[in-house]
C-alpha cells in the first residue's frame, strides 16, 4: 500500500503475484478460485448495470460497490451457510454471495420495497441505511446464537465513516462484554461521502479493537484471497467461543458515493488512477491466468454470463410493478390494529371515488 501506516495482510500483490504470510494462509481448489473470480465479475456487472439503469431513470438511486468486490466477496465466501450477514446498502457483493437474486437487490432502489428479501431464507439482513444501526443488530443476533448454544457467527458490515457512530462503538462494548460470536467487517474505502477516512484521527481503524479488548486486523481489501483468509480465521475464532474480531479491509470506493454524488467536488482524479492499478478483479485474473487456473475462454464465458445477467436485470427491472397503494398498511403490525384498518378503508374508499367518477 502506498500509505506507510498501512500494514495490511496480503496474499496476492496488485500484480497478481502470490505471496506468503506468516499468520494467514489459505488453500483453495482451482474451482474455488475460479468461483471467486466469477463472483466478482458478476457483482461488478450487476453494479454497472444498476448504475446504467439509474441513469435511465429506472432506479431512484444506486450505491456502487465498484472496487470493493474483493472485500465483499472474500468475506462473504468465508461464511458458513448458517452464518448471518448484516450488510449496508453498498454490499451487493455480500448479498450476491448469500444467494439474494440480483433483482431483489434492486427492489429498494426501484422504490417498490424497503426490504427486498426474506432474511431468514438467505441468512442475510436487509440493506441497512441508518449508519451503524445494523452493527448492533449483528451483535444481538450473535448473543442469541450464544444463548442457543449454536455455532453460527454474525458478520456485520459497515464503512470507515461508521466507525464514528455511537452505535458501532456500543456494538464493540456489547460484543466484548458478552464475548459474542460476531465479526466486525469494516470496509475502509477511504471515503464517507466527501470525508476522507483519516479525518477520524491519525490512526488506523483496525487499531480501535484492542482498546475494547478484542483483536483487530487490517487486510488488503482488494485481495480476495487475503480477505477470505483473514475472515475465515475471525469466523473460527468467534465460532469457538473466543469472541469478536474487527477486520479492516483497506480498499477504495472507485465510484461515486451514490449516483446522486459528484466526487469531483472533493477528491482528485489521481487518487482513482492509483487505485485502478490495484483493481481486485484484474489482480485475481492475472493470478489465474499466470497459474493456468483459467484461460481466455473461461474469462469470456464469465463475461457472457455477465451479459446475460445484465439483460435479465434490465428486463426484470422494467417489469417490476409498484405495489398496490393500500399495501402500505400491510405488515405495519402483525396483529389486528383498529387504526390501520380504518385508514386502509378510508384510502380504498377515496381511491374508489375516482374510479366511480371515471366510470
Amino acid at each position: 500500500m502506498a500509505d506507510e501506516r498501512v500494514s495490511a495482510v496480503q496474499l496476492l500483490t496488485p500484480e497478481g503475484q502470490r505471496v506468503a504470510h506468516p499468520e494467514y494462509d489459505i488453500n483453495l481448489t482451482d474451482a474455488e478460485l475460479r468461483g471467486l473470480y466469477r463472483d466478482m465479475v458478476l457483482v461488478r456487472r450487476i453494479d454497472t448495470e444498476a448504475t446504467a439503469l439509474q441513469r435511465q431513470g429506472e432506479l431512484g438511486l444506486w450505491a456502487p460497490c465498484l472496487g470493493q468486490e474483493a472485500a465483499q466477496v472474500g468475506s462473504a465466501r468465508a461464511m458458513a451457510p448458517n452464518d448471518f450477514a448484516f450488510p449496508t446498502f453498498r454490499e451487493h457483493g455480500v448479498t450476491w454471495c448469500r444467494g439474494v437474486a440480483a433483482l431483489d437487490m434492486l427492489a429498494i432502489l426501484r422504490g417498490i420495497s424497503n426490504g427486498g428479501w426474506d432474511p431468514s431464507l438467505h441468512r442475510c439482513g436487509p440493506y441497512s441505511i441508518v449508519i451503524g444501526a445494523q452493527v448492533l443488530h449483528g451483535v444481538g443476533y450473535a448473543m442469541g446464537v450464544q444463548f442457543d448454544g449454536a455455532e453460527d457467527v454474525a458478520v456485520t458490515y459497515f464503512g470507515d465513516g461508521a466507525m464514528a457512530q455511537g452505535d458501532v462503538n456500543e456494538a464493540f462494548v456489547f460484543a466484548a462484554s458478552f464475548s459474542a460470536p460476531v465479526v466486525f467487517f469494516c470496509q475502509n474505502n477511504q471515503w464517507a461521502i466527501s470525508q476522507p477516512s483519516d479525518r477520524q484521527g491519525n490512526i488506523q481503524l483496525y487499531e480501535r479493537a484492542n482498546g475494547f479488548g478484542f483483536p483487530g486486523v487490517q487486510v488488503d481489501g482488494n485481495d480476495v484471497l487475503a480477505v477470505l483468509a483473514v475472515t475465515k480465521v475471525a469466523l473460527e475464532r468467534a465460532r469457538s467461543g473466543n469472541g469478536p474480531t474487527l477486520i479492516e479491509a483497506y480498499t477504495y470506493r472507485m465510484g461515486a458515493h451514490t449516483t446522486s454524488d459528484d466526487p469531483t467536488r472533493y477528491r482528485l482524479a489521481g487518487e482513482l488512477e492509483t487505485w485502478r492499478l490495484r483493481d481486485p478483479i484484474e489482480r485475481l485474473k492475472a493470478y489465474l491466468a499466470r497459474q493456468g487456473i483459467a484461460d481466455r475462454s473461461y474469462f469470456d464465458q464469465i463475461e457472457q454470463e455477465g451479459e446475460k445477467l445484465a439483460e435479465q436485470i434490465r428486463d426484470g427491472v422494467r417489469a417490476m410493478v409498484p405495489p398496490k397503494p393500500e399495501s402500505m398498511f400491510d405488515d405495519v403490525y402483525s396483529e389486528p390494529h383498529a387504526r390501520i384498518d380504518e385508514q386502509r378503508a378510508e384510502m380504498l374508499e377515496y381511491l374508489a371515488s375516482f374510479e366511480d367518477a371515471g366510470g
Binding site: P119, G138, V139, A142, V332, A338
Partner: protein, 328 residues
C-alpha cells in the same frame, strides 16, 4: 387473589411470561442481581439464570439495538429502561428499527420486543427521572403503547405486551409502583383476550355528566376526583392503550355524557390529549356540549421536584376542568 404492589404484580407477570415461553429474555441495566432500581425484576435472575435475565452495559441504544438482533434470532426480549429520561439515547433504534423492521421486511421478520419504561412524576426525583415521553411513541407508526394503572391491569397487560408479536412500549407509572391492589394470579395471558383486552379502554367508574379520559398515573387521581365530586357525575375511562387508542369505548362514553376532559402529566401541546381532542372533536361534533378540555403538564421542562406538584395535574385541577365544561 393476592394483595400486591404494582411492582410485585409486574414481577409476577414477568415470571408468568418467562415460564410460559423460554424465548422471553429480560435485558436492562442493573436488572439482575440488584433486581432493577425499582426491584421490578427482583429474584428473576436467581430463578431463571443469567441467560434469561441479562445485565446490560450502560448504553440504551446498545440495549435496544441488540434486542433487534435477538428478535431476528427468534427471541422475545423484554427491555427495561431505567428511567423515562434515559430512553432518548435509544430513540433512533426504537423509531428507525424496532418500529419499522416488520413493515420493511414485508412481514418476514417479527419484532416482539417489549420496552418497559417507568414514567411520570410524583416521586420527588431529580431531573430526567420524571418524564412523560409517551406522545413521541404514540406518534410513531409501527409501535404499540400500553400503560397500566393498577396492580391487576399491570399483571395482565405486561404479559399481553410480551405475548404480542408487535413491539410494545410499556409505560409503568412509577408513582403508582407501591400502590397495592388485588391481583388474580390465576389469570393467564393465554385466555386473557376474552377477560381483559389490553387494547380496549376500561370504564373504571361509571358516571353521567362528564367523561374523564386518563391513563397510567392519572387514573387514580381522576378516580379520587370522581369520588369527591359531589354535584358532577364523572365517568372515568382508563385508556390503557395509547396506540392505538380505543375510540369505540371513548366515543360511546362521550355520546352519553356530551363532555370530555382529558388528563395527563405530559406537556399539553402535542400530548396524547391533543389527538384525543382532535378525534373526539370530529367523531362527536354534534354531541359535544363543551370543547374537549385538557388538564396536563405545562409546556416547560419538568421542574425541580419541590414545585412539581404545580406541574402535575391533581384532583383540584381535574375538578376545575369538570366544572368548566359543565359551565358551557
Amino acid at each position: 387473589m393476592t394483595n400486591l404492589t404494582m411492582v410485585k404484580a409486574i414481577n409476577a407477570g414477568l415470571r408468568k411470561a418467562m415460564e410460559r415461553d423460554p424465548k422471553v429474555l429480560l435485558f436492562g441495566e442493573d436488572i439482575g442481581r440488584l433486581g432493577g432500581v425499582f426491584r421490578v425484576t427482583d429474584g428473576l435472575q436467581k430463578d431463571f439464570g443469567e441467560h434469561r435475565v441479562l445485565d446490560a452495559p450502560l448504553a440504551e441504544s446498545g440495549i435496544v439495538g441488540t434486542a433487534v438482533g435477538l428478535a431476528m434470532r427468534g427471541y422475545r426480549p423484554v427491555l427495561e429502561i431505567q428511567f423515562d429520561g434515559f430512553v432518548y439515547p435509544g430513540f433512533d433504534q426504537i423509531v428507525s428499527q424496532v418500529a419499522k423492521f416488520h413493515r420493511r421486511m414485508d412481514g418476514a421478520v417479527a419484532m416482539p420486543i417489549t420496552i418497559r419504561i417507568p414514567y411520570g412524576g410524583g416521586i420527588g426525583a431529580v431531573e430526567h427521572h420524571s418524564e412523560s415521553p409517551e406522545a413521541y411513541f404514540a406518534h410513531t407508526a409501527g409501535l404499540r403503547v400500553l400503560t397500566p394503572s393498577d396492580p391487576q391491569s399491570a399483571y395482565l397487560t405486561i404479559q399481553q405486551a410480551i405475548t404480542c408479536n408487535d413491539p410494545v412500549i410499556y409505560f409503568e407509572p412509577k408513582r403508582r409502583y407501591w400502590d397495592k391492589g388485588e391481583v388474580d394470579e390465576s389469570q393467564s395471558a393465554l385466555d386473557l383476550g376474552a377477560v381483559a383486552d389490553p387494547w380496549r379502554a376500561r370504564i373504571v367508574k361509571a358516571g353521567s355528566d362528564v367523561t374523564v379520559a386518563c391513563y397510567g398515573p392519572m387514573v387514580r387521581t381522576c378516580l379520587e376526583a370522581a369520588a369527591v365530586a359531589t354535584d358532577i357525575s364523572l365517568e372515568v375511562v382508563d385508556l390503557q392503550a395509547l396506540a392505538p387508542i380505543d375510540y369505540e369505548t371513548l366515543v360511546a362514553s362521550v355520546q352519553r355524557t356530551s363532555r370530555l376532559v382529558v388528563v395527563h402529566e405530559a406537556a399539553l401541546s402535542g400530548g396524547v390529549g391533543a389527538e384525543i381532542a382532535a378525534r373526539i372533536g370530529e367523531k362527536c361534533f354534534y354531541e359535544l356540549e363543551a370543547p374537549v378540555t385538557r388538564v396536563a403538564g405545562f409546556d416547560v421542562p419538568y421542574p425541580a421536584s419541590r414545585i412539581e406538584e404545580h406541574f402535575l395535574p391533581d384532583l383540584n385541577r381535574v375538578l376545575d376542568a369538570a366544572e368548566r365544561v359543565m359551565g358551557y
